[in-house]
Amino acid sequence: MINPAGFLSLLFLSALPASALAETGGIDQAIDRLISPLSGFVERLILFPLPLPGTDAQVPFVVLWLVIAAVFFTFYFRFINLRGLGLGFRLVRGDYNDPRAAGEVTHFQALATALSGTVGLGNIAGVAIAVSVGGPGAVVWMMLAGFLGMSSKFVECTLGVKYRSINPDGTVSGGPMWYLSRGLAERGPRLAKLGKICAVLFAIFCIGGSFGGANMFQANQSFQQVVGVTGGAESWLADKGWLFGLILAFFVGLVIIGGIRSIARVTSKIVPLMAIIYITAGLVIIFTHIEQVPAAFMLMLTSALGVDSVAGGALGVLAIGFQRAAFSSEAGIGSAAIAHSAVQTREPVSEGVVALYEPFIDTIVVCTITALVIIISGSYIEGGGMSGVELTSQAFASVIDWFPYILAVAVLMFAYSTMLAWSYYGLKCWTYLFGENRRTEMTYKTLFLMFVVLGASMQLGAVIGFSDAMILAMAFPNLLGIYFLLPVVRRELDRYWAMYQRGELVPFRHIGRS
């Protein structure tokens, strides 16, 4: 284990070549020039656009891939995203928690952990990006995509629990790597090979995603926010993204390399608090302008149908909304299955039903609040040129002028917790590929920290392209494998649902409380 002091000097060493470039037009620009072509290439490779018939709009194939899967799952499981909500709520509340298993990971804890990985910048910055690029209508499609995405989450998390492995040391490993390789292996030697390939591809993309959207994007957006509240372009920090990146990398490193768990534990307690503050502030703004809400919804609807939208008619707006939703809720991406698989249950479907709430809270509730605030405040029109978290910040500031400071803290916390969560997902994939030992783990963690610095130094456009590309790419192997596993999930669901309807799931609360 590296001590913090040694770790700090390591970081400074890695920053040395960058400072040599300082004379030639700023370190940030140098880093950006260096990385942009590469990230642009990755972006074009994975987000290759398909032209939409009848319009000049384009939709990335991967977005279509996610939507088709989500729609298919919704019908195949007969609207589990609606009928599972009641049971899911009772499971989260702990009605069926077995008191004899007290001390294990509960449904609530699994959901909260998964949420801390997804609620964050996708909701705050992602919505702003969707509104500024696609107009208010994009939000409607985001919500619809979130609703359909609930079915994808259900499938992923059910499979994550079903094919998890309990290691000899008593720890639990689960996620797409396991259900793709093990699940498909059950279905014949041909599919076993496909499953193995899918699992490896998933692991590679997940590592990429953990460097991209879950890391560089987070570092980038939290830097923007900090610069924003410390004086914008005049801020002393404005052209020192690398410095901010180093500081952030240091704090991430304290947890993932230094093993200082207490920080992670504190973060995991602050993040829900931040989420509550954010939602409350959003609701306060919405209620103080309650008379504008119907108009805002009308604007969203008309713009969603392409009446006066900016980006190539209804289909163009739809593509933007769906893409941001996929990035925000990560439904169909497979990442959350890693977090959900540690839950204590004998019934995989029970966790799948709980996981429905993830896109629901993340994409439908939080994104709608953000969107309403942005639209009601009119910031998406006045704030021309602004995008991402800046726009959201300005929208909140137009009603509560000191809110950007709170938002800055919230963004930092969200970014930090997302980075910690994803560093774990990425690490699990890394060790799946390269084996579990100290050296391979340290290599991954060092790389992870270097990307934090890069992310804070780059321009938003370059970062978003790369981030989206890597995270969305995970959906290819993940969903491809899942299609072959659907009968398994269906069997599990039918059995569990029958038990539920026969009243065989006895709420434990009623025992011993007569």
Binding site: P99, A102, G103, T106, F108, R265, I338, G512
Partner: protein, 144 residues
Amino acid sequence: MAKIFLLGVDGSECGERALEVAADHVRASSGKLVLCYVIPWSPFTFSTAEENAERHRRREEELSIAMTKFLQPRAKALGAEGLDVEVVARHGHPAKTLAALAREYDADTIVIGNRGDTPLKTRILGGTATALIQISHCPVLVVP
């Protein structure tokens, strides 16, 4: 009639005094003693993915430490003088779990030390003993 005494211990000095009191009662009534150790835990806390992955192992470790460090040595000492002693370790909210265990073991009296929690927690939230008095279905003997 043999009475069942359920004792909550937490390793504190006060808990040890409660143990002596409970043992006296058990001797006097030639009853049975159920020794409980509750590991504070809530199903609604927030944890990291890594903690969750290790949770299963941690839980086993915590239970085994409670058993070997606290419960079994004491049960052994009391068992040596011929008392009927049973031990149980469980996770949960201390007061609620003790009350639930009392039902489970059909206890006649719960014995508990007055001061196990930190003074701050007692002052703000009320101690385990106070809470137990409120929710228990059987008499609670609080030992100062």
